[in-house]
């Protein structure tokens, strides 16, 4: 646990970025702990080498900075008067458009210019019950059909034919 704690402080210790009290404690630990001392040596080595190696990166081949400067100079010479306005347009253009639409659409609708067509109303279902009571004497006692149908359905005419035979 102590070694884990001190190992995290070794980089700052090498770079002399620890407060004096903590630095003193790390020194004491390094004097007594062989594992942390090895780590300290490796870290010291790494820092030295990074400090020597990394600044060399990019120093060769020679960059073409003169050529880059000529491009920069040309770019600087070009006026950019509309730059701020363009940025404003890009950022707020959509918001302004949406806001305008939100204003215009309700006004147009309320002015009678555009009216919504009334939606078709569906009539409530209606039940038609046909109770056909036979009146003809001949039909008395025979089966009678009762029809129940909703509107729009064709009810077959099954009324019995009138009896043409003479009644005694």
């Amino acid at each position: 646990m102590a070694c884990e704690h001190y190992s995290q402080l070794i980089t700052a210790y090498i770079q002399d970025e620890l407060p004096p009290m903590i630095r003193q404690r790390v020194t004491g630990h390094l004097n007594t702990c062989e594992t942390c001392y090895v780590l300290y040596r490796q870290e010291l080595d790494l820092v030295r080498h990074l400090t020597q190696t990394i600044p060399l990166i990019g120093t060769s081949p020679q960059p073409r900075l003169k050529r880059v400067w000529s491009v920069v100079e040309t770019e600087l010479a070009q006026p950019t008067p509309r730059q701020r306005f363009d940025r404003f347009q890009a950022r707020y253009g959509l918001a302004v458009l949406l806001f305008a639409l939100m204003l215009i659409v309700p006004l147009t609708m309320g002015n009678g210019g555009v009216t919504w067509a009334a939606p078709p109303t569906q009539p409530a279902p209606q039940t038609v019950t046909l109770n056909q009571t036979p009146t003809h004497p001949a039909a008395v006692g025979t089966a009678v059909a009762y029809y129940t149908a909703t509107e729009g359905h064709v009810i077959p005419d099954v009324r019995p034919e009138p009896d043409t035979t003479a009644v005694p």
Binding site: Q8, T11, A12, E17, R41, Q42, E43, L44, D45, L46, V47, H49, L50, T51, T53, I54, P55, L56, I57, G58, T59, S60, P61, P63, R64, L65, R67, V68, W69, V71, V72, E73, E75, L76, T80, Q83
Partner: protein
């Protein structure tokens, strides 16, 4: 050559007034270090030059927005550059392969006295460069700003737009990764180097 902050401030004032010589002086002073930063991060001369150009054009066109109370001009310029380098990673999907080889070829030859020592140093140098390049972008940026440009943790935090503690932990984490990367591939090499 190191420019004093007062001289840089005077040059910035001249730039704001439209003096072309002020821009040229700032460019001459900062361009080599900005190029080195770009090259270290991108590993490609053409990309590095493109980013240098973009960064200076942006910085000079917006130089009136620079606030010396918030950061130094160098930190501001590094922030702009790092942002453009990150854009370049995204555009290019930053190939991590072969860059180590590229860096090795472009480094100056070691100036050691004996051939054996030169060989050891060259081997270690190559190993360290490859290891640095294999770090994730955040860790690589932190290490390069720290050791390649000598920025303080406060400055690294400003440039990378993160808290100072995060900058410190990124450098520490990079150290851990580098130790881990170097030891299995070149056992004992670090110890040899210490003994030179």
């Amino acid at each position: 050559m190191t420019l004093e902050p007062e001289i840089i401030a005077a040059l910035i004032t001249r730039c704001i007034q439209g003096d072309q010589a002020g821009f040229a002086a700032l460019y001459d002073y900062f361009a080599p270090m900005i190029y080195r930063l770009c090259y270290s991060l991108l590993g490609n001369q053409q990309d590095a030059e493109d980013v240098v150009q973009e960064s200076f054009v942006y910085a000079f066109k917006n130089i009136s927005r620079f606030d010396s109370n918030r950061a130094s001009f160098k930190t501001w310029l590094y922030t702009i550059t790092l942002s453009r380098c990150r854009n370049m990673y995204r555009r290019k999907r930053f190939p991590l392969v072969d860059l180590g080889q590229l860096f090795i070829l472009n480094l100056a030859a070691p100036s050691t006295e004996t051939p054996e020592a030169a060989l050891v140093e060259q081997g270690l140098r190559e190993a360290v460069e490859k290891a640095v390049l294999s770090l994730s972008p955040h860790l690589r940026e932190a290490v390069i700003l720290r050791y390649g440009h000598g920025l303080t943790y406060r400055e690294i935090a400003d440039v990378m737009d993160c808290p100072q503690k995060t900058a410190e932990s990124r450098v520490r984490l990079a150290h851990e990764r580098l130790r881990g990367l170097l030891q299995p591939s070149v056992p004992g090499l670090l110890d040899e180097w210490v003994g030179i």
